[in-house]
Amino acid sequence: MASEAHAAHEETLALREQFDTAEQQKDASTLAMWIFLITEIMFFGGMFAAYTIYRSTYPTVFAVASASLNVVVGAINTCVLLLSSFTMVMAVRASQLGQRNAIIIFLILTLLFGGVFLGVKAYEWNEKYVEHHMPGQAAFHLEGTPLQGPAKIFFSLYFAMTGLHALHMVVGVGILSVLIWQTRKGKFSPEYFTPVDIAGLYWHFVDIVWIFLFPLLYLIDRHLPK
């Protein structure tokens, strides 16, 4: 009896009773994930609005502060994150094809690239701390501008936006770890791999946020002589 109930539960992973077809169930999950991602867009949107207002108010200070960020490290980290999106979509593709080992390998690669991104981010934050570019430090000082207040605003936005992005990455790393464990247990098949697919959407969304953060934070008026 217990094993029968268990078997029935396994079947409902591919199709729960409120759905007519597995395709309908999958579409519902995708739609719901996108609705969640839209709340995330609005969440980050408020920060981008604050950024736009302060950047337009203090354009030169923002240019000077932006130039103090390490553009080479930022660009390389962007590439690392794009690579992680590629390995994530390859994990989803492996799920579609039912290649369990490939799913695990690509999820681990995604996890590794995500880890590298976070490590580099921590290195950059530490650099800011050492250079006294962290708002709240008593010794805060940005060279090249007399306007230290607006400089603090730039770095407040920098830490808030990259910090919030990194927090999403940490959550993503947790999700990937669970997925790797579930894949090892054989939970997914070409008929049912919705969690991998949905996690992919989340991971790519976080990638898109960084796609906007990188030019807006690192690449302001780089051509100006400093």
């Binding site: 395709e23 739609l31 553009v71 999106s85 979509v89 796609i211 051509h223």
Partner: protein
């Protein structure tokens, strides 16, 4: 179910395009384009976003309902940004007594 399985080649080409865009946006930032440098940066970022959304997030194959929801979300983002910015940038246009 998911009848659309993209080839590895497709994904690899999208990745290469994304990496090329990253190099491009970095280099363009060092060119003096005046006010257009931010336009160029955002244009490249939007291109990258579309590549990720259409290919990696499978929006190419998503249902009409999902696409409508995504467009609706972007519309709300536009409302958020436009109304905040129109408020902020027009505050000095009209003089008020006592200010």
């Amino acid at each position: 179910m998911h009848e659309h399985i993209d080839s590895v080649k497709t994904y690899a080409l999208v990745l290469l395009a994304l990496l090329a865009c990253t190099v491009l946006t970095t280099l363009v930032a060092f060119v003096d384009l005046g006010n257009f440098s931010v336009v160029a940066a955002l244009a490249i970022a939007v291109t990258k976003m579309l590549l990720v959304a259409l290919f990696f997030m499978h929006v190419r194959y998503s249902t009409v309902l999902t696409r409508l929801v995504i467009l609706g979300g972007l519309l709300w983002l536009a409302i958020l940004l436009l109304l905040i910015l129109t408020d902020f940038f027009t505050r000095g246009w009209v003089g008020f007594p006592g200010t």
